[in-house]
Amino acid sequence: MVVHIDPDATLPFWRGAQVFRFASVAYAIGAQIVSVRAQAPPGSGIPAYSHPVISWALIALLVIWSGVSGLVYAFELAPRPPTVVIELVITVLLTVSTVWVVRPEYYHHHQSLPSTFWITNAVVSVALLWGPAAGGAAGVGFSLLSLGIEEQFHNLVTDATTPILLTVGVTMGVGARIVSRAQQELSTAVRMQAATKERERLAREVHDGTLQVLALMRRRGADLGGAAGELGRLAGEQEQALRTLISEQATVPGVDDSTDLRTQLQAVIPAGVNFSGPAGAVHLPGSVVTELAAVVRTILDNVARHAGPDAQAFVLLEDLGGEVVLTVRDDGVGIPDGRLAEAEAQGRMGVSKSIRGRMADLGGEAVLETGPDLGTEWELRVPRAGKAG
């Protein structure tokens, strides 16, 4: 079973962010075209830019860097952390360069140039990579830098830059974190489910093949006696050991903690016992499955001890939708009428009480029918949570 889960859950965020980057580059170019012709103060004939040529070079750097970083982020061409660090440095330099290329008369009343709101990209990258706290800090940092350069600190409260960049940093960070965590949980769940499936498959395989052969050897060996009988006895011991082993293996719960009672029962029921059940899986919570299998095992042990050497045991599993019914029956000597005291002395009634108690703990019930030469028949009923009634 091959499960493909993209380890990078935040990739769609990174890709989306590059669309925004593209739009912000277009805006930065537009702002440059407008600003580079502007006069400060308006109508004074004095150009707003002190170094227009350098400002074009800086815009070129902004465009090239945007292209490079956009491709790197969207297609994972290079590790993200160093790229984000370079992006931070370039964004800070471009923002600070305002002081150099534009005259104070202009930028004091306008945004930082040439970076404009393109600086938001750096905040988004930091948030996606390092989470909401780092994203928020980057947002506040850039907003303070920007306002500092524009000498607009007195407008900190009325200016929208700080709340917007802070919000962008925190929300993008939270979003990326949530998606990453969900992805991790999903991949753990899928791995667990695959492992459980594989265990169940192995248990089935061992049950169908090896256990059948060992059971056959034990029976044939017993018929033949002598050295073959000894081999048969050894095969029987291994059968029992293997059966116990796979029953322990099969109890690993699935994603929603529900396991297949049928598989579990087939693993714990000894070879001589006849098992009947539906073709499909009978899912119940893992703890209920484990307990039911243990109760069935207890009853079967009891049958082996008390029902007589020729007794045969049968287990029937029925899924009625709202409840699951297990019948464990033997055709042995049964419990004769008026012999309950003796039965109690033999420890059988103690076992009965324990079985009833365990079934009651599961919210179900256990009914025993018995009589002389009628064998014993336990009917165990467990309601399905949510479907009961």
């Binding site: 169908d208 087939q266 006849n274 059940g277 499909g280 049968f314 029937l316 029925e318 029956r329």
Partner: protein, 219 residues
């Protein structure tokens, strides 16, 4: 063993050791093993050539499963009775094979005596209804009852209360005679009830397959 002597059997299994062992047991009991096969293809051609009365069918074959093999063998030799001989947990496969027309199911760990008894019963056209098979059929009826019927389809077959009662007792391991005593009817009546549950299931499967074929041709 006069009944056995006239009975022809084909053994289908891909394990040579198992195939030979079963064939030997059958020959020793007086049956005539007319063919053995280790694949669906071989089983189909040999069933056509030898028309065995009973086919002992394994569920694991290299070129398909026992359900396919059962369907194809019954097509090639319609008079044959197929008895599934399977390891115990290939349950869905067993159910499919029974729906495809197999009339019995025996686990591989059954003793030689049980096997011979089952082959005799199968040759006589009786269903070899082990508790395991009863459990499967019971489960299948319950599954069909909970599934919504597609529009225009035949309603899923259902069991009468008496059939349900009988099937549950068989699944719990009671013999026809024991059930007859419990319900105060003859063991023949019990066997008839049991066979009816199987026939209804096979019939509904045939109707289903035909409907599927027609729909696919029209579509």
């Amino acid at each position: 063993m006069s009944a056995a002597e006239s009975t022809t059997v084909m053994v289908v299994d891909d394990h040579p050791m198992w195939r030979d062992g079963v064939s030997r047991d059958l020959e020793a009991a007086g049956f005539t093993v007319v063919a053995t096969a280790d694949s669906v293809a071989a089983a189909t051609t040999r069933a056509k050539a030898t028309t065995p009365q009973v086919v002992l069918m394994d569920m694991h074959l290299p070129d398909g499963n026992g359900a396919e093999a059962t369907a194809r063998v019954l097509e090639a030799a319609p008079g044959a009775n197929v008895l599934i001989l399977s390891a115990s947990s290939e349950r869905d496969d067993v159910l499919q094979a029974v729906k495809a027309g197999a009339c019995g199911y025996l686990v591989k760990s059954a003793s030689a005596a049980e096997l011979i008894e089952a082959v005799n019963a199968t040759a006589a056209g009786q269903a070899v209804f082990t508790p395991g098979l009863a459990g499967l059929v019971l489960g299948e009826y319950r599954r069909m009852a909970t599934e919504p019927t597609p529009a225009g389809a035949e309603p899923a077959p259902t069991l009468t209360p008496r059939e349900l009662e009988v099937l549950r007792l068989v699944a719990k391991g009671l013999s026809a005679k024991q059930i007859g005593r419990r319900l105060d009817v003859s063991h023949r009546t019990v066997e008839n009830h049991v066979q009816a549950t199987l026939r209804k299931l096979q019939l509904s499967n045939r109707i289903e397959l035909t409907r599927y074929a027609i729909e696919n041709e029209l579509g």
